[in-house]
């Protein structure tokens, strides 16, 4: 007998599931519209910028809120299984649960990456054509590339965080609420609340516009910011995988 079902089969199954529910299409549309429109408006409203990466950062402004759509789809990939009862079919077909969660995560992260690349490219073009920068906004500028790259990776990680929170909490409302609080609400609230400890805590939350001081948050250097986001996504994912293995369906 062969060694079993290849991982690619499970991944294809999860990709099929992702695209056979309406919510994925809606979330894609919302994300594209929100990020694209905000990027075009922000770039058009910014006549000049000192540095090319600043112009690009301004155009990427829509990612902050837009990523909530990706978070929701990541959460739903897991919670909808438990809410509808389809987890029984899924886990009978794929009884190796960590493998299943990994396939879900790769499918969601792949979808987020595609969207992130397309939208980041769009925002780059908006900044290049609509904002005047001394020397222009060149696609080969390392600072510009780093800004775009950070945003694209953070986009994939928010999907991973959604899947992870869904696996931990199993409740759509609970996971979306916790996720939104972590990435969007708490960082600026804590940063603005004043005390030194609140600022430090704010820096330790997964702020999705890594290395930038948008949304009144406390700025961190980009390696620290990326490390924090990745640690949250991976940490929550590991907890989710352990709980998925342990709990009854």
């Amino acid at each position: 007998m062969s060694r079993g079902v290849p991982f690619s089969a499970v991944l294809r199954s999860e990709w099929t599931k992702l695209w056979s529910v309406r919510s994925t299409g809606w979330a894609t549309a919302v994300f594209v519209l929100a990020v694209g429109a905000a990027g075009a408006l922000a770039a058009a409203g910014t006549d000049t910028a000192d540095r090319p990466e600043t112009a690009v950062q301004t155009a990427l402004i829509g990612f902050g809120v837009g990523q909530l759509a990706l978070l929701v789809v990541g959460v739903l990939a897991v919670t909808a299984e438990f809410a509808s009862g389809s987890a029984v079919s899924t886990l009978t077909a794929v009884p190796r649960r960590t493998r299943l969660l990994l396939a879900k995560t790769v499918a969601i992260a792949g979808w987020c990456l595609q969207l992130g690349v397309v939208l980041a490219a769009g925002c780059f073009l908006a900044a290049r054509t609509l904002t005047a920068v001394p020397g222009g906004v060149a696609p080969t500028d390392p600072a510009v590339l780093r800004t775009l790259g950070l945003q694209i990776v953070a986009t994939a990680l928010v999907g991973v965080l959604g899947v992870a929170l869904g696996a931990v909490l199993r409740s759509t409302a609970g996971a979306v609420m916790v996720g939104t609080a972590l990435v969007l609400v708490l960082p600026p609230v804590l940063a603005l609340s004043g005390p030194r400890w609140a600022e430090r805590l704010s820096q330790a939350l997964p702020m999705l516009r890594v290395g930038q001081d948008a949304f009144f948050s406390v700025p961190t250097s980009w390696p620290v910011g990326m490390g924090v986001v990745a640690a949250w996504a991976v940490g929550a994912w590991v907890v989710g995988a352990v709980l998925l293995e342990r709990r009854d369906v």
Binding site: M1, R3, V5, S20, S84, G85, A87, V88, A93
Partner: protein, 304 residues
């Protein structure tokens, strides 16, 4: 006898407030339909979920084809399961639901078309399952179970919600699958559903094993002889001397347990008693089943 395909050893599953399955040991063999019977709440579904690795036992082990279910290399090619007819996303089409399942086990996509036609859902395959009735849900669940053309089938209440034509179709399907040498375990809380289908019965009550018997034995154990005679008192006395248990029926006939019809006829002849009727009465399985489970019903309506 062929070696067991499903082995349940000392299985116990406790929830916070109650014991769902208690020290259950049973084996299920191939080539026959095994009926898994018991009242509501007797632990049938919990046992099946433990076998499929969906529920973690408190203690004890379950094995399918010699290994824990979670370690099967191609789960859907080996085992087909129907646990819950609502186990699907309401926003997905029947076809997409089955396609996702097929892909997860690297089954060819044409299997989806095959099983959709087999269960009679061809006309609604591309509709979202939100609008499906319970019976259509059962058909979809059966389609999913049959996708991998599995050696073992575990079906929890598969005919629940089906129309009479659907029930007959499921019976014939299970019969055919068992005749092909596959292992079929099918649960029900209704004995009548099992009468024409099962070859072997495993009966649970309050999570414990009440019976693990061939269908014929259960029938034989509860069969009787009905005899009518104008000299009933004389015959009754003679039969009692021969060791039978006699019960006078409301129409004046005697219900005789403990002797077969030949013996009853012989006793009557030797006693010089005229006999007007002599019939074997096969106990309805329902009665046999109620006899077994009478004291083991978890939920019982109050008698006013």
């Amino acid at each position: 006898m062929l070696s067991p395909v499903i082995e349940v050893v000392a299985l116990t599953k406790e929830y916070r407030s109650r014991v769902a399955v208690s020290d259950l040991t049973v084996t299920i063999h191939p080539g026959r339909v095994t009926g898994f019977l018991g009242p509501n709440g007797s632990g049938k579904t919990t046992t099946m979920r433990c076998i499929l690795g969906l529920t973690r036992p408190t203690s004890g082990t379950t094995r399918v084809l010699g290994r824990p279910y979670r370690e099967l290399a191609h789960p859907m090619r080996r085992v087909g399961a129907l646990i819950d007819p609502r186990a699907r996303h309401p926003g997905r089409t029947a076809y997409a639901h089955l396609l996702a399942l097929a892909r997860s086990n690297a089954l060819p996509a044409h299997r989806v078309d095959d099983v959709v036609e087999l269960v009679g859902l061809g006309s609604v395959a591309h509709e979202r399952v939100r609008g499906f009735s319970l019976g259509m849900g059962q058909r979809l669940g059966l389609a999913a179970a049959l996708l991998g053309d599995p050696d073992v089938l575990l079906l929890d209440e598969p005919v629940n919600g089906l129309d009479p034509e659907g029930i007959r179709w499921v019976r014939e399907l299970l019969r055919d699958l068992a005749d092909e040498g596959r292992t079929v375990l099918v649960s029900s809380h209704l004995m009548s559903e099992m009468e024409d289908t099962a070859d072997h019965l495993v009966v649970l009550g309050r999570g414990r094993l009440l019976a693990d018997v061939p269908m014929q034995d259960l029938l034989g154990a509860h069969s009787a002889v009905r005899v009518r005679s104008p000299q009933a008192p004389v015959l009754a006395a003679a039969l009692q001397r021969a060791g039978a248990t006699i019960e006078l029926q409301i129409d004046g006939s005697l219900r005789v347990e403990g002797l077969d019809p030949d013996q009853v006829g012989d006793v009557a002849f030797l006693s010089g008693v005229r006999v007007h009727e002599l019939t074997r009465v096969t106990a309805s399985l329902e009665a046999a089943y109620l006899g077994l489970t009478g004291d083991e019903v978890e939920y019982r309506a109050a008698v006013p």
